[in-house]
Symmetry: C2
Subunit: 344 residues, 2 copies
Amino acid sequence: MQINETLDRYMMPAEWETHERTFVSWPVKDSMVWPENYDELCGGYAEVIRAIAAFEPVTVIVNPEQLEKASAMCGANVEFFEISHDDAWIRDNGPTFIWNANKKLKGINWRFNAWGEKYTPYDLDNALAPKILEMTRTFSWDAPIVLEGGSIHVDGEGTLLATEECLLNDNRNPELTRFEIEALVKAFVGVDKIIWLNKGLYGDETDGHVDNIACFARPGTIAMQVCFDPDDPNCEITMENLMRLRSTEDVNGRLPEIVEILQPPARYYRGKRLTLSYLNFYFVNGGLIVPVFGGDAEAYDYAAINKLQAIFPDRRIVAVDGMPLIKEGGNVHCITQQMPLGYL
Amino acid sequence: MQINETLDRYMMPAEWETHERTFVSWPVKDSMVWPENYDELCGGYAEVIRAIAAFEPVTVIVNPEQLEKASAMCGANVEFFEISHDDAWIRDNGPTFIWNANKKLKGINWRFNAWGEKYTPYDLDNALAPKILEMTRTFSWDAPIVLEGGSIHVDGEGTLLATEECLLNDNRNPELTRFEIEALVKAFVGVDKIIWLNKGLYGDETDGHVDNIACFARPGTIAMQVCFDPDDPNCEITMENLMRLRSTEDVNGRLPEIVEILQPPARYYRGKRLTLSYLNFYFVNGGLIVPVFGGDAEAYDYAAINKLQAIFPDRRIVAVDGMPLIKEGGNVHCITQQMPLGYL
């Protein structure tokens, strides 16, 4: 038993810390809402993977029968782990890495139930995190709570951002109370303060993952996608969340500085409102991979990119086509999982 | 998802809260250090069970082949659950019940590894708690940490008492740090403050369970077994723990009042120092079951009983023979597990 007040504390590093690599799970046709789009979806994945691989190594988790196709599409700086999985959003069922002040790593194995039992089967996806941790020789710590990586963001200094709609949803942990969920999340992620937003994007089938509406840009600064059109249900959601952010201090006593990024125009696919979000961008070493949507969103795309470039003047921003991914419900952040550069 | 600040908080009630019943696991001959003492040990168990059953219902967990013997020995007010188990110290592998302000119950299923892998097999004992919770129709909450019930005491108001020797021992949770162990224990038991004692009794094979040296008598008051003989290794342990208790506030800002109970004279069995302790007593509804040791300890037995009666003027104290149990390493508290009177 090591007893050292500095080294004893393990916490989830902010996403902007240097990555050892990024994990992506290759899509599975059988799990798709629109399987006829499989090739288009794979193309979207490959574009994101190639974009990331220009900054850092990428490890793609692939079902054995897809290895050939995936490796042909992904290009260089990519390695493959053949692990059978059900679906392909590794942000949500992958491990959450934590580290201590010496950057010694551990991995959290959350329980995964496919966003409140929305899709089956999910047993392979629930079993994925410990397999990845075993392959990276990282200690796997089982968290007795259903939680998806996309439902939390951290500033790396002890504050966590989440939505009540998701973390407190009855379809995740019906037997646990808010108090218990807070205590467990704090214990595993190593934070002292949770800033609770209310809801995520309107129509988000993840029940309001925070990674589609807001994230830390740096400690003390939160970027948030906003909507000020009173006829759009995202307007009321924006107002409530802005009110909360403006009145909630982080663990260091700071009221967050808020960077507003305007949402693109509403877009539909086969009758369903898509959850377009620039906030689903992903930090890579020295860069930022940002989904854009084109068409009538083009002016918004540029505005978002410009605003992000202003917050992150030292990062090279790469825009990727978010449409192939969002038709299946997620985007760049949802299909990635970072392993920070630390020690085993 | 129920969101209610009062009802959301589940915590372990103090042992003195009214019990619905007490659980005891009937001893298993194969697991004994001295199997030739099996009948004597069963006699010791039966004496404790009969003593408790005069105050409240007792449920005895029994291996099927021992049901007849056990039921013949235990008398009235006792029911039996036939559940196969390896060993017989249900304080350590049984569920820890927690409740909220409405006394709604849940049960914690800690991991059990036979006190740091000291005995095998222990897989049946590790699986016992969820079986009991299922039979009592109580939600079972899996705690991802090795912990024995005998290694913690609570005051029911948010303070927990434990020893570093046990909870931080490398043979329990080698991958977890002190910070993580504290956070998890607080999250599950529902406490805000841990008062850390140093070591438990000299020679205690549990690696210093707190339930052999100290317990809360009421919020703000801690009873402690002390030794002031400088030639006895328990003297240094006493000094260190007294110093800590005198300088550590509980969660409500109180320095504890300390009630000292003098340890009985050292006694040996087959060359090994026995861990005689009056502090291994057990609260029952309206009473207290206290182990005594007789012989050269008789004057100490009386002194301990008198001191406990002075702290608990309204409880009927029943002394039982602690010798059959302590030769196997535990005592009254170790073989019992309370289920508080609450709601499901």
